[in-house]
C-alpha cells in the first residue's frame, strides 16, 4: 500500500483547548478510510489541517509528496501542489450561491487551471451526469435538495481530479437510500485510485462502505483496522461508547446561514 496521505503526531489547539494531541493517520491510494468519533472529537480539525485551512502546532502532514509544516499557513501560491492533490467536500456543501450548478463545477478548472470555458463545461457535464445530477445543471444551489447539493459539491471537487478526497459528515442530511448511493460513489472514486478520508459518526455507513476505520478520541487515534473487526469487537472504551450511543453522537447539522440581507446581527 502506498501512503498517499500521511499524518504524523498532529497536535492542534483552538484557544486554550487542546483538540488534537498527536494524531497518526495514513490513507492509501484506492482506500476509503472512515475517521470516526463522537461530536467534538476533532474529526473536522483533522480534515481542515490536511486541507491547509487550519494551522497546527506540531507534527507533519504529507500529501502526495507535498509536506505541510506546523505553524502559520503558507501563502496560497505556495499551496498550489496541495490544492491540486486534495479536494474537500464540506458538511454544508458550501456551493457558490450566485452561480448555477454547472458554473459551480466549472469555476475552478477555468480560473485555477486556466481551461477554456467550453472544455470546463464539457467536463462539468460529464461529472454531473456520472453523479446523476445532469438534469439540475442550470439550477441554483438554493433550488437543490440536500442530496443533490452534495453530489454537486462532489462533482465540483472532482473537476480538479484530486488524488485525495476529504469529506466532512457526508451522511448527515441523507435518507437511507441516498446513503447507499453515496457509498457506491465513494467506492467508485476509490477504484479510480483515489484515497478517501471520510469524517463520520455514522457507524452503519462506515461499516458498509469503508475499507478501514480509525477511531478518534481524546485527541488521538485510539484504534484502527477493518470495520468488521473494530466495529464488532471494539478493543477501546471510546469505540464502545461510540457504538452504544449513536443518538448522543449525532452532530448538530451545521445550519447554513440564511441568504438574507436582514441577517445584520451576524454581519
Amino acid at each position: 500500500m502506498s501512503g498517499l496521505l500521511l499524518v504524523r503526531e498532529l497536535r492542534l489547539s483552538l484557544g486554550t483547548r487542546e483538540i488534537l494531541r498527536g494524531v497518526d493517520l495514513e490513507v492509501s491510494a484506492g482506500e476509503v478510510c472512515a475517521l470516526m468519533g463522537i461530536s467534538g472529537a476533532g474529526k473536522t480539525s483533522v480534515l481542515r489541517s490536511i486541507a491547509a485551512l487550519q494551522r497546527f502546532e506540531s507534527g507533519s502532514i504529507a500529501v502526495n509528496g507535498f509536506r505541510l509544516a506546523p505553524g502559520p499557513l503558507p501563502r496560497e501560491s505556495r499551496l498550489r501542489p496541495l490544492r491540486r492533490s486534495v479536494g474537500m467536500v464540506f458538511q454544508a456543501h458550501s456551493l457558490f450561491e450566485h452561480l448555477t450548478v454547472i458554473e459551480n463545477v466549472g469555476l475552478a478548472p477555468v480560473h485555477a487551471l486556466g481551461w477554456a470555458p467550453e472544455r470546463a463545461g464539457d467536463l462539468a457535464h460529464k461529472l454531473l451526469a456520472s453523479l446523476g445530477v445532469a438534469a439540475r445543471a442550470d439550477a441554483f444551489p438554493r433550488q437543490l435538495s440536500g442530496g443533490e447539493a452534495q453530489r454537486v459539491a462532489i462533482a465540483r471537487v472532482l473537476a480538479l481530479d484530486p488524488v485525495v478526497v476529504l469529506m466532512d459528515e457526508p451522511t448527515s442530511a441523507l435518507d437511507p437510500a441516498r446513503r447507499a448511493a453515496l457509498g457506491s460513489t465513494l467506492r467508485a472514486l476509490a477504484r479510480e485510485g483515489r484515497g478517501l478520508l471520510i469524517a463520520t459518526h455514522d457507524v452503519e455507513f462506515a461499516g458498509a462502505h469503508a475499507d478501514r476505520v480509525a477511531i478518534l478520541a481524546s485527541g488521538v487515534v485510539v484504534e484502527q483496522g477493518r470495520p468488521d473487526e473494530v466495529l464488532t469487537r471494539p478493543s477501546h472504551e471510546a469505540t464502545r461508547e461510540l457504538l452504544r450511543t449513536p443518538e448522543a453522537a449525532t452532530e448538530a447539522t451545521e445550519a447554513v446561514r440564511p441568504w438574507s440581507i436582514h441577517g445584520k446581527e451576524h454581519m
Binding site: 486541507a51 485551512l53 496560497e76 501560491s77 498550489r80 490544492r83 491540486r84 486534495v86 479536494g87 474537500m88 464540506f90 454544508a92 458550501s94 456551493l95 457558490f96 450561491e97 450566485h98 469555476l107 475552478a108 480560473h111 485555477a112 487551471l113 438554493r142 459539491a153 465540483r156 471537487v157 480538479l160 447554513v256 446561514r257 440564511p258 441568504w259 438574507s260 440581507i261 436582514h262 441577517g263 445584520k264 451576524h266 454581519m267
Partner: protein
C-alpha cells in the same frame, strides 16, 4: 463684474425672487447693488447665500460685497470691511392687540417669551434683557414664523426691524406695532477685511447716491423711506441741502402681496433646481460608492494601521453632523483650498456617504459564509480570485437594496448644502415660499418633485430586496 451676495429667502423689500420672472431678484438691496455696480463701471451679479453665512462667504471670496439687510455692529466692523450705513431702521416691538396697553417696552415683558431672528442685534438685546428681567428670548431661523407664533399665542411679543414688522403686518396682521422704538440700527454692506479699497469706492458711490437723491428714490419705491434716513444721510458728511423734504412712510405697491395665484411661473425654476439636486446626488453617490468600496476593502484586507485609520474615518464621519462637515469643508478649509460651492457640496456629501456605504459593503462582504470562501480556496483559487469570483458578486447583491435606500436618503440630505450657498430644490422652494408668502403651493410642488425622484428608487430597492432575499 460686481458679485454681490444676498439671501432671496429674506424676501421683499430687501431681496426677493421677482414674481414676474422668478430667475431674477428684486428689492431695494438689489437696486442698491445695481447702483453701486454702475458707479464702479461694473455689471452686478447676484449670488444666493444664506443670510447667516454672508460674512464667511464674503471672506472666502464667493462674492465682493454682501447686501441683504446686514446690520452694523462693532463686532462686524472689527472682523470685516464694512461700508457706511445706508439705511436706518428701528427695532420695534410687536404685540397682540389686547396687550397693547401692558407690553409697551421690553421692561414690561419680564418672564414673557419674546421672539426674534437669531444672530441679530435684536436677539442680543433680548439676551441682555433676559439676564436682567427674566424675559425669555426665543430665536427663529426666519422672520415670518415669529409673527405667526405671536398671533397664535406661542410668544408674547416680537422684536424685529420695522421693515420686517410692517411687512408682516401687511401680509398676515393679527398684531400691532408699538410706536415707541426700542432701539435704532443701520444696514451696511459687508466686504472682506482684505478688501478695504473696494469698500472705500462703495462708500463714495453710496455718498453720491445719498447726495443726488437716487438712494431716496429707491427707498421710496420700496415704501421704506422716512425722515430718519435724512438725518442718517446728513451724518454721512452729505450736504443736507441736496436732500428732498421728508415724507411719511409710503405704502408699498410693488411688494408681492399676490399670494400663490401664479404658481406655474415658478415651475421651470423649481425643475431647474431639481436638476441641481439630481446632479448633486448622483455625483456625490458616485464618490460615495467608489470611496466606500476602497474603504471596505481596506478594512477587511488591509494591514492593521490602515484598518485603524479607516475605522477612525468611518466613525468620525458617522458620528458628526453632515452639516458640520459641509461647513468645515467650505468655510473651515477655505484658508487652504477655496473650493467652489458646488464642488464642496459634492465632496462633503460624497465623503459623508462614503462612510455609510463602506459599512454596507463591509457588512455585505462579511455576510458571505466563511465556508464558501474556504471551499473556493481549497479549489485552488487565489485570494484575489476568491474576492472577485465568489465574495464580491454575492456581496454586491446584498448591498444593492441598502445602497438604493441610501441614495434616496442622499437625495433628501442634499438639501443641506444650501448652507454653503448652493441653491437646490429645497432652497429654491424656500425662496419662492417667501416670495409668494405661503408654503402651501411651493411646498406641495417641491414634495411632488422629491417623491417623483424617490418613489421609483424605493420601489426598486424593495424589488431587489425581494428578488435576492433567497425566499
Amino acid at each position: 463684474m460686481l458679485r454681490w451676495g444676498g439671501d432671496a429667502e429674506g424676501g421683499a423689500p430687501f431681496v426677493e425672487a421677482d414674481p414676474a420672472d422668478p430667475a431674477q431678484v428684486r428689492g431695494f438691496d438689489v437696486e442698491i447693488a445695481a447702483l453701486i455696480a454702475r458707479s464702479l463701471g461694473r455689471e452686478p451679479q447676484f449670488v444666493q447665500v444664506g443670510w447667516s453665512c454672508i460674512e464667511p462667504s464674503v471672506e472666502r471670496g464667493d462674492f465682493d460685497i454682501g447686501l441683504s439687510g446686514v446690520e452694523d455692529s462693532p463686532a462686524r466692523r472689527a472682523e470685516h470691511s464694512v461700508t457706511i450705513p445706508y439705511y436706518e431702521f428701528r427695532e420695534v416691538l410687536a404685540v397682540r392687540p389686547p396687550d397693547r396697553p401692558r407690553f409697551r417696552a421690553l421692561a414690561d415683558l419680564g418672564g414673557r417669551r419674546v421672539a426674534t431672528l437669531g444672530g441679530t442685534m435684536a436677539y442680543q438685546m433680548l439676551l441682555e434683557e433676559g439676564r436682567r428681567t427674566g424675559l425669555v428670548p426665543v430665536s427663529y431661523d426666519d422672520d415670518v414664523h415669529p409673527y405667526a407664533d405671536l398671533a397664535s399665542g406661542r410668544v408674547d411679543a416680537v422684536l424685529l426691524d420695522d421693515i420686517i414688522a410692517e411687512r408682516s403686518l401687511r401680509r398676515t396682521g393679527g398684531f400691532v406695532i408699538q410706536p415707541q422704538p426700542v432701539a435704532t440700527g443701520h444696514y451696511v454692506g459687508v466686504l472682506s477685511r482684505a478688501n478695504p479699497a473696494l469698500r472705500d469706492s462703495v462708500n463714495a458711490a453710496l455718498r453720491a447716491a445719498m447726495r443726488n437723491g437716487s438712494l431716496e428714490r429707491i427707498f421710496r419705491h420700496w415704501g421704506v423711506w422716512n425722515e430718519s434716513q435724512l438725518e442718517l444721510f446728513a451724518r454721512q458728511e452729505v450736504s443736507a441741502g441736496a436732500l428732498s423734504s421728508p415724507s411719511p412712510v409710503g405704502r408699498a405697491p410693488p411688494l408681492s402681496e399676490a399670494k400663490g395665484d401664479r404658481g406655474e411661473v415658478y415651475l421651470p425654476a423649481l425643475l431647474r433646481a431639481a436638476g441641481i439636486t439630481v446632479l448633486l446626488s448622483c455625483l456625490s453617490m458616485a464618490i460615495a460608492v467608489g470611496l466606500g468600496l476602497l474603504v471596505a476593502a481596506g478594512r477587511i484586507y488591509g494591514p492593521a494601521l490602515m484598518r485603524a485609520g479607516l475605522a477612525t474615518y468611518v466613525e468620525v464621519t458617522r458620528g458628526t453632523p453632515v452639516l458640520l462637515q459641509l461647513f468645515v469643508i467650505y468655510y473651515g478649509l477655505s484658508g487652504l483650498v477655496r473650493l467652489p460651492a458646488f464642488l464642496a457640496a459634492v465632496l462633503g456629501l460624497g465623503l459623508n456617504y462614503a462612510a455609510y456605504e463602506s459599512e454596507i459593503y463591509r457588512a455585505a462582504l462579511e455576510a458571505i459564509p466563511r465556508s464558501q470562501l474556504e471551499a473556493a480556496r481549497t479549489l485552488g483559487l487565489s485570494e484575489r480570485q476568491v474576492l472577485r469570483l465568489v465574495r464580491a458578486p454575492q456581496a454586491l447583491r446584498l448591498a444593492l437594496a441598502p445602497m438604493t435606500n441610501d441614495f434616496v436618503a442622499l437625495l433628501k440630505d442634499s438639501s443641506l448644502v444650501s448652507v454653503i450657498t448652493v441653491v437646490e430644490l429645497t432652497k429654491q422652494t424656500a425662496i419662492y415660499a417667501t416670495n409668494v408668502g405661503s408654503w402651501a403651493l411651493p411646498g406641495l410642488l417641491c414634495a411632488i418633485v422629491y417623491l417623483a425622484l424617490s418613489l421609483p428608487l424605493s420601489h426598486l430597492a424593495r424589488r431587489l430586496e425581494r428578488r435576492w432575499s433567497g425566499a
